[in-house]
Amino acid sequence: MGLGRLCFLNRPMFVAAAVFCAALAQAQTALDLEGRAVSPLAADSSKVVVLVFLRRDCPVSSRYAPEIQQISKQYADRAAFWLVYPDKTETPQAIRKYLQDYGYRLPALRDPDHVLVKLGRAQITPEVAVFDRDRRLVYDGRIDDWYVDLSRARPAPTTHELEDAIRAASSGKPVAKSEVRGVGCYISDLE
């Protein structure tokens, strides 16, 4: 973590490149849709933090929208949710439209450098990373077991890893499962 990043100013559009590079240098973290650096883990230490990793072009990600919205509402008093888009080609405009289409009322971040991806050890969209009040990563992986593989979804999930993790972490108890990989689209395909 925390590796220094070199910034090569070798573009003809020197000024624009400089600005771009400055934003990157400043970032080393995720950006909100206005392009400001945001550290989701720094916010409100009374709550656990949930990062939800999504791709707009991943149908499994998209189908989870109502479920993610519902869980975030149910645990609003205990957990702060952030949607994280790790695709560096994704524009804030496209993400805004997506949030509106899918009825999301959660803050969204771009993570072009995969800072949060690494922090949350995310591999797939959709996956979540749950951090306790001390900001230790206590769970990373799937939301639940709805999808069995990319072509098969259960009629309804039978396990609820995300909710279990939120409940345990917010009451200071150990999380039973610390990692269960999700089904969906690889984040590493975006590199």
Binding site: S151, P155, T158, S188
Partner: protein
């Protein structure tokens, strides 16, 4: 004395064969991945040279804007963004979606990748998913925009779109499309545009010649929910075509001599399987019809093997086997096959044992997935001589290990129409061959053999008795038909269709006094039932109750104002009562609707002669 003819046997309105048509859908996952072909593969695999030809041929048809797939696969950067995912789904053979195992009898439009292609994709990604030299890239695939077969002769669009909720379980919805034609037309191709293809898993067109499904709509055009639906047909006119859409379907043009008949008043019913996407989606399908001036000269038929009655699967049972077998009474050519089960179906197989004893696999799907159900057409029609035994062998998994199990924990599951029930169906599209046209429609022999098979298999099967009765009636074996109808009515005493059929058969057999009660029972269940109303009019007239008959015919006309037969028979009843001017008006109206209406023609002449004589 007037010579009056009232409706006879052939005029009775009877729903001929009740056909339950199904609809369904699903997914697969075999982890195979044999490490063959490695030696023959080029050392450095590149997208442009090695992978693009595979992607363009086998993926881009659906993976492009406006099509079913959730993202495009049209160039290097598209493929790179999903590279590891492509490895996973090709290794598991979840993509391209193609369920049957390779077999001797080949299917058309097979979408299966070769093992060597799957390995090449894996190597490409393992080596870092390199783009390669621009000169190696084949030309991008070209697709026909819009209607694949050009502008259709007639486009039907769903009257009312359906708004699919953002979440919840899969939805099954039926859209009814009245066909605005004034005369019989022949259709050589149908293109289904299911609305937003990303959310429609599959769609099936059912031909409803009697408007029997309209009554399930809350308002005209509203559509109705449900996975499996039943269609009644008027006469012996078994379904003959499998009109099916799934992602990637190329519209099918009927072979020479074949066409689908559409009559005035026919409805096309599109049964769709829809999957929520995460946001509300508006689905408004349309259907394009391509006509041909040539009437069909070859008429195939759909044979159904099934054994739903044997579906009583204990909770937790992993290997529940259901079989059915049927011996062909005539020579046929098998054109297409369509297996159907729901979420517990796992291993699905159909075999043909030829008279000589050889057995051919007709289809074998080792990992059934309702999400990807499909109609499979054979590359060449398969000759199945008389005496061939066609059998199905379906294995169901009702254990906790089946992730698609609708019940958690597993529960006893029976056969039924809901998606949480189970099904064991196999449709075969066959074309009778080597028959003597003088012996009548060869499909009748098939249908009767099938109906007898069903009754033997399951004596408590209402539809089996009903269908056998309808076949016997079509062959004018009225007494035998009446016995089977009686068995059907005994099984379902309130069924309007069966009561009507039994009543009509009794009237036709010269027992109108016995028929009246059944016709009244039909009308009690369904007061708006035109056929029963008309038949009751005939039954009363046959007993010389012309006033009662006229009353029933008038009520029938309220239900279907443009029916020439009813007008003619109403005229006849009035004439019998001496009400000549009224009778004349109705005969004339009948001839206005149908200038060839024989009863009206004959009676009007007799009436004019009689009136002139006064």
């Amino acid at each position: 004395m007037l010579h009056l003819r009232l409706g006879m046997n052939s005029w009775l309105r009877v729903a001929g064969s009740t056909v339950i048509v199904l609809a369904a859908f699903v997914a697969v996952g075999t982890l195979s991945g044999s490490p063959a072909a490695r030696s023959s593969a080029p050392a450095q695999v590149t997208f442009n040279r090695d992978i693009a030809p595979i992607i363009f041929r086998s993926c881009s048809t659906c993976h492009r804007p406006g099509e079913a797939a959730p993202f495009s696969l049209l160039n290097f950067s598209d493929a790179k963004k999903h590279a590891r995912q492509i490895v996973d789904v090709t290794q598991s053979r979840a993509m391209p979606p193609w369920l049957p195992e390779p077999q001797k009898l080949k299917f058309a439009d097979e979408m299966r990748l070769a093992d060597s292609e799957i390995n090449l994709i894996r190597q490409w990604v393992e080596q870092g998913a390199i783009e390669g030299a621009p000169a190696d890239l084949p030309p991008p695939p070209k697709f026909v925009e819009g209607w694949r077969l050009g502008q259709p002769d007639l486009v039907l669009t769903a009257i009312k779109p359906l708004t699919l909720p953002p979440s919840g379980t899969d939805t099954y919805w039926n859209f009814i499309f009245p066909v605005p034609i004034q005369e019989t037309r022949w259709v050589k191709a149908v293109e289904i545009r299911p609305g937003d293809k990303r959310y429609v898993h599959h769609a099936n067109i059912l031909v409803d010649r009697a408007g029997s499904l309209r009554q399930r709509e809350s308002a005209p055009g509203a559509g109705f929910g449900g996975m499996e639906i039943r269609i009644e047909s008027q006469v012996f006119d078994p379904d003959s075509h499998l009109l099916f859409w799934k992602p990637g379907t190329i519209p099918y043009v009927e072979p020479e001599g074949m066409a689908l008949r559409l009559d005035k008043g026919t409805d096309l019913v599109l049964n769709t399987h829809l999957q929520p996407s995460g946001k509300p989606e508006v689905i408004q399908p349309s259907i394009g019809l391509y006509f041909t001036p040539r009437a069909a000269t070859k008429v195939p038929m759909l044979l159904q093997l099934e054994n739903d009655a044997k579906l009583d699967i204990p909770a937790g049972q992993k290997d529940f086997l259901v079989t059915d077998e049927f011996t062909l009474p005539i020579d046929v050519e098998l054109m297409a096959i369509y297996p159907h089960a729901h979420y517990l179906g796992r291993d699905i197989q159909a075999l043909a044992t030829l008279p000589g004893g050889t057995t051919e696999t007709l289809i074998h799907i080792p990992h059934w997935n309702l999400n990807w159900q499909a109609v499979y057409r054979y590359l060449e029609p398969v000759r199945l001589p008389k005496g061939t035994k066609v059998s199905l062998r379906y294995v169901y998994d009702n254990s906790e290990e089946n992730p698609l199990n609708p019940n958690h924990p597993p529960a006893r599951v029976m056969g039924g129409n809901r998606s949480s029930d189970e099904m064991c169906h196999l449709w075969l599209q066959v074309l009778p061959v080597n028959f003597d046209p003088a012996q009548g429609d060869p499909r009748m022999a098939l249908q009767e053999a099938l109906a007898r098979h069903d009754v033997e298999k399951n004596p408590a099967d209402f539809e089996a008795h009903y269908n056998l009765a309808a076949m016997l009636q079509a062959k004018d074996r009225l007494d035998a038909a009446i016995r089977e109808y009686e068995l059907a009515v005994r099984l379902r005493p309130e069924d309007a269709v069966a009561n009507n059929a039994l009543g009509a058969a009794l009237v036709g057999a010269g027992h109108p006094e016995q028929g009246v009660g059944y016709l009244q029972a039909a009308l009690k269940t369904r007061p708006e039932y035109f056929d029963a109303r008309y038949n009751l009019g005939l039954a009363l007239a046959a007993q010389n109750d012309f006033e009662g008959a006229a009353q029933q015919f008038r009520l029938a006309l309220k239900l279907q104002p443009d029916d020439a037969n009813v007008e003619a028979n109403l005229g006849a009843a009035l004439a019998e009562m001496g009400q000549f001017p009224g009778a004349k008006a109705h005969f004339e109206r009948a001839l206005q609707i149908d200038p060839n209406q024989a009863i009206a023609k004959e009676n009007l002449q007799a009436l004019q002669k009689a009136m002139g004589a006064h």
